[in-house]
Amino acid sequence: MKADITLLLEGTYPFVSGGVSSWVHQIIRAFPEWRFHLVFLGSRREDYGPMRYELPANVVGLETHYLFEPEPPPPLEVPEPPPPVMGQVEALHESFLAGVPPAQAMLRMAAMFPTLLEGQRLTRDHFLRSRAAWEFVCNRYRRFCTDPSFVDYFWTVRIMHAPLWKLAAIARTLPASPVFHTISTGYAGFLGALVKARHGRPLILSEHGIYTKERKIDLLQAEWIKDNRNVFQRDPTEVSYYRSLWIRFFEWLGRACYDAANPIIALYEANRQRQIQDGADPARTRLIPNGVNLARFRPLRDQRPARVPPVLCLIGRVVPIKDVKTFIRAMRRVVNVLPEAEGWIAGPEDEDPGYAEECRNLAASLGLTDKVRFLGFQKVDELMPKIGLTVLSSISEALPLVILEGYAAGVPTVATDVGSCRQLVEGLTPEDRALGPSGAIVGIADPTALADAALALLTDEARWHATSRAAIARVETYYADHMMFDAYRQVYRQAMEQH
């Protein structure tokens, strides 16, 4: 059955639970009048378990692709690509150099898309295994590489480029739909640019976090990226060559997506500014904040006990970006001051089992085994009446749904000063601020401040009730899901009407 909207999803719905996946589920269910086709991009099949969501009835197709699965053995004889095509590749890479206007690279990239999509003149084997490609790689190594290891350079280039042909193959076979909607830049965003070039249909981009930024931070710390310079060659303040090569690669993938997408949607202003800084056309950007289903959470307020439960709950995946360890460290102080308090960690642990184990070990080493409970995935509706605070110790967030869900159930929050958390707690506009704080904001990785803020709320019933009232008023006034759905209905209609 032909879909109305194709969603391009990288490492998220329906195989990974979390804020972005919940949002995608919300969007699909909000528009039963439209049929959705889902394209899931993952790294390797073994990295994902079964589906975490029951697909709504209006999902008419789901295809899964894994970009880093082992490849079949290459042919023994690789034909040479036509020289003009390698010239095109050379010219495109020249336009990535510093000092060349990005618009020129975008034009050249757009010119490459038909070659990639047509799948004959520049195949993956052409680029990875032909003599012309070898000469190209050697030439660029001599001209630009500041790392002495050619072997590492050679493999970095190959590993970096290989997924692009997979994406081109997906784009070739992906059925046309009136609208394509990608939930991130990166590989999914690049696929979006390719399908737009193939089908000429609008591409919508909704970014929750900023993919390029998150990749950059990961890459700056990645231990698998080698730096082979010796002590005389190395400037300790300089990012190593391969690291910066990877960072630039994802920056250009992001630019390709920004160049193709319209509108480019962010959840809050700081992220919109970041998109512009990373190459998005300001005229195409817009804001649509998240929203929650108030009717679902409103009845939970009456289920709350008379006294505020001394329970701090971190609802989220147990992954490093949530900085669960800071929450556990904060619990050491909370329990020292308020011995009856408990810390609950409600979220799946299978995305990064190593990190989950580190968190459990930390709780044990701090003597908190009986005070910090790892609950695994839980239904939010069942948790909310039993907790006193939602806690978000994340080092990076966008506009966390879990805070809004807590608000809708009358639960204030203590959150770190990331993403739009300050706006959610203290208010954005003067009218919003006049509602009062709906929790507290603390700096990242500061367990003492987190604990003190939580204790201040949990030990002062009058203050807790005031923040709870502000939380309810804030979510009902500014973050109801129908506002978000109205905005997306308009975005989808406008895109469908484009010819």
Binding site: Q221, K325, S365
Partner: protein, 324 residues
């Protein structure tokens, strides 16, 4: 301390006069009066000398006979007068301190305000603390910190966690987390082996004491977690020491006690560490004396160290205190 000495002095003086009035005019009563009055004058004199800085032994020795003579020569009114004088001195000191000193901070080193060409980057701290420095330069400074020992890098990285640029903030967090992760993994491994028991148990307790101390030493544990880490360090060190003498563990215990503010207990252990070379213990004794406000002892301890035979950072401290 001063108040107690004055209370004793007043009591002695009262006893002297009470005895004299009751016993009449015989010579034995006079001798008793003189002895009690002398004791009162000496006690009050000690109270006066306590006014001086903790390390001013020589000045204290000079002042004591003078104060004693004055107080002995002024029966009855000597002690109240001295008390009034002391209160006046204290008030004057407080006023003097408030009026004479204002707090100023060192101007930040800002490479972007420097007009001279050829300026080279100096401290990573000044680059990271300056919001006008471009993000890429700050990222470079952070990457350089990845190669710097934890004790130096951690405070700088922690300061950057409040930076308003998310890239810089996240990178600083990642670097801190990587350091802490390595130590916690080692703690977990040691805890597992410790729990398994057997002959290895004492060695694992020793390792655990060292690892918990490392967490504190490198600034990776803060607040209540720091306290918890120090308490765990002490518990494991005690376990090792209960099985027999162990100079390194005793030093580790003393440092943990020192970090917890239990200075007297720490000092007692430092002083008992004869088995270790003086150069290993003296810096801690000097630091402890400094923490107690006993700068003369701190200087004396450092003077016993040879700057040429100590690590560069400590050598600079030794040279400073020798010159001061």
């Amino acid at each position: 301390m001063q108040a107690k000495l004055f209370a004793y002095a007043t009591a002695l003086e009262g006893s002297a006069w009470g005895g004299a009035l009751l016993a009449g005019t015989d010579s034995a009563a006079f001798v008793a009066f003189c002895l009690l009055h002398a004791a009162a004058a000496l006690t009050a004199g000690l109270a006066v000398t306590a006014l001086l800085a903790p390390g001013a032994h020589r000045a204290r020795l000079s002042l004591l006979p003078l104060a004693f003579a004055l107080l002995f020569a002024l029966p009855v009114i000597g002690i109240p007068l001295t008390l009034l004088w002391l209160m006046g001195v204290r008030r004057l000191r407080a006023q003097h301190r408030a009026a004479s000193f204002a707090e100023v901070s060192v101007p930040p080193f800002d490479i972007h305000l420097a007009t001279l060409p050829g300026f080279r980057f100096t401290g990573a701290g000044s680059i990271l603390a300056n919001p006008r420095v471009p993000v890429d330069t700050r990222v470079g400074a952070l990457l350089a910190l990845a190669r710097v020992p934890g004790r130096i890098a951690t405070p700088l990285l922690r300061r950057v966690l409040t930076c308003n640029n998310e890239d810089v903030r996240l990178l600083a967090y990642g670097l801190l987390d990587a350091r802490e992760k390595r130590l916690n993994a080692a703690i977990h491994e040691a805890l597992t082996r410790y729990a398994a028991g057997g002959e290895d148990r004492r060695a694992q307790a020793e390792r655990l004491a060292e690892l918990y101390w490392e967490l504190v030493y490198h600034g990776l544990a803060v607040g209540d977690v720091r306290r918890h880490a120090l308490e765990r360090c002490l518990a494991y060190a005690d376990e090792v020491l209960a099985a027999g003498p162990h100079a390194e563990m005793a030093l580790c215990k003393a440092r943990a006690l020192h970090a917890l503010g239990r200075l007297e207990e720490a000092a007692a252990i430092y002083r008992s560490l004869d088995q270790l070379p003086a150069g290993r213990v003296l810096p801690y004794l000097a630091e402890l004396a400094y923490d107690q406000g006993d700068y003369v002892t701190a200087r004396a301890m450092l003077a016993r160290l040879d700057p040429a035979a100590t690590a560069p950072r400590l050598a600079a401290v030794v040279r400073y205190w020798r010159a001061a």
